[in-house]
């Protein structure tokens, strides 16, 4: 056992500001891939972070607050209503600037994510988290709030469907 002099209080719960700056771009990437909206992805991510900010006393003490915000943004991004609302807000905000927030993807990559978005929602979320975040099944399950077996099934079916669609497309 460590003596008191050797032990230390290692950290304080991360501030929301630090968490936001650390995670924001990665969360935007999830929103972009799952919504396909260049204009609305940032707003979706922002909405997820604002939800986290409102409950930061609780969420900030979680072992992985980043899993919570990924769950929120991935659910919002596959919701057609939320996506349209965020797009409308972003377009209104951008109206005066005449510029897109996110640059377009090359057709090959855009086509891939379009196929992902055609999958059932849970499969699309599992596939996006697997490839974008390079997460193992157990962490995908944590984000999707389901058992590892269920996450494994969603990922397996999503990848199988994607492989079939890609083979239809040809090389």
């Amino acid at each position: 056992m460590a003596t008191p002099d050797e032990a230390v209080v290692v950290s304080r719960p991360e501030t929301f500001e630090a968490f936001y700056r650390r995670e924001f771009r990665r969360v935007v990437a999830i929103a972009y891939a799952l919504s396909g909206s260049r204009a609305g992805a940032e707003d979706l991510a922002q909405e997820a972070f604002i939800a986290a900010h409102r409950r930061w006393d609780e969420i900030g003490s979680y072992e992985k607050p980043e899993a919570w915000v990924r769950r929120v943004v991935s659910n919002m991004a596959v919701s057609a209503f939320r996506r349209r609302r965020s797009e409308a807000k972003a377009l209104a905000r951008l109206a005066g600037r005449r510029q897109e927030v996110l640059p377009p993807l090359e057709p090959e990559h855009d086509g891939f994510w379009e196929l992902v978005r055609q999958l059932p929602k849970r499969q699309a979320q599992a596939v996006a988290l697997h490839y974008l975040e390079d997460l193992p099944v157990i962490e995908i399950a944590d984000i999707l709030d389901c058992s590892p077996n269920t996450a494994k099934v969603h990922l397996h079916r999503g990848r199988r469907a994607l492989a079939a669609k890609l083979s239809e497309e040809g090389p």
Binding site: A2, A7, N149, A163
Partner: protein, 309 residues
């Protein structure tokens, strides 16, 4: 399938990350109040202002006495003027649970301007600092802990880089995250004059034990514990099946039930058991519960999924 798919997926994922990295995201700080911080004064500003104020007072006192000497030809010297900064409060009456640096002596400086004398009292006492909760030596099961205490009103309290909230009466609190085992929390208080005090408290964090797969619902006379495990969890074969095994009270029966298949076995003399259960009617890709129960009523539930090959 997987190589071609994985290759393309990873390139597509990299493209998304590049697009986000290249973009000029707003990081819309205006939408999040926490990101709009009040202006922070640079460290040491308070002490510099205080020193300047003391100097100004000494000079002013000197001028006043010089004026008196010029315009009041009375030979009697005026009484000395004494002024000082707020003195530190009394030491706390309750015994704190921590160690605190003992106060040093108070010294004074004297500025003499003939024919009068002005004395300025400087605050060189360290601020009082005590940790009131948690108690020193406490054993805690919570990872995130709020430390509370009391200090001199106006003082700041920190633990490493983290600053505590201090109210007008000097009550402070700070939330810290503990590591498993012993944790030494070291707090420092700095008063308005720049004097420092330190207090420490040692607490022990013992995380709650993780849940096990063994569940005892009916107490028995020291029966061997019922432990169940599954082998696969998912199966792509037709008919799908899983294999369950574990330990239990010798001679008792282990029954496996589910909506799509069941089986049973006896716990052997060596206390181990094994059973293979088929789920011929299991739906594809839909997890369902499988319950294992021994004759002593001890139960464990797993999940099984028939996945496509």
């Amino acid at each position: 399938m997987s190589t071609q798919l994985d290759d393309r997926a990873r390139r597509a994922a990299a493209a998304v990350h590049e697009a986000v990295a290249e973009s000029r995201l707003h990081l819309m700080e205006a939408g999040i109040p926490a990101l709009r911080r009040p202006r922070q004064w640079p460290a040491g500003t308070g002490r510099a202002v205080l020193a300047g104020a003391v100097t100004a007072l000494v000079v002013l006192a000197g001028l006043l006495t010089a004026r008196d000497a010029l315009f009041a030809p009375d030979t009697a010297a005026p009484p000395p003027t004494t002024f000082g900064l707020p003195s530190p409060p009394d030491e706390p009456t309750g015994a704190p649970t921590t160690t605190a640096t003992p106060p040093t002596s108070v010294t004074s400086t004297t500025a003499t301007t003939a024919p009068s004398t002005t004395t300025t009292t400087l605050d060189l006492l360290p601020p009082m600092l005590a940790v009131t909760a948690p108690a020193d030596g406490a054993v805690l099961t919570e990872k995130v802990v709020r430390f509370e205490g009391i200090t001199e009103p106006g003082a700041t309290v920190k633990a490493g880089p983290y600053e505590a909230d201090v109210d007008a009466e000097g009550n402070w609190s700070l939330v810290l995250v503990l590591s498993p085992g012993d944790n030494l929390a070291r707090f420092t208080a700095v008063d308005a004059a720049g004097n420092e005090a330190e207090a420490t408290v040692t607490v022990r964090y013992e995380p709650p034990a993780p849940e096990t797969t063994t569940t005892t619902t009916k107490p028995a006379e020291d029966p061997a514990p019922f432990v169940a495990n599954y082998t696969w969890g998912t199966c792509p074969l037709v008919p799908p099946y899983d294999e369950y095994y574990g330990t239990g009270e010798p001679g008792t029966k282990v029954v496996v039930t589910s909506a799509y298949g069941e089986g049973s076995t006896m716990v052997g003399e060596d206390g181990t058991w094994y059973v293979k259960v088929f789920f011929p009617e299991a739906p594809l890709d839909e997890p369902f519960p499988v319950t294992l129960e021994d004759t002593l009523g001890r139960k464990t539930v797993f999940e099984f999924t028939y996945v496509s090959g």
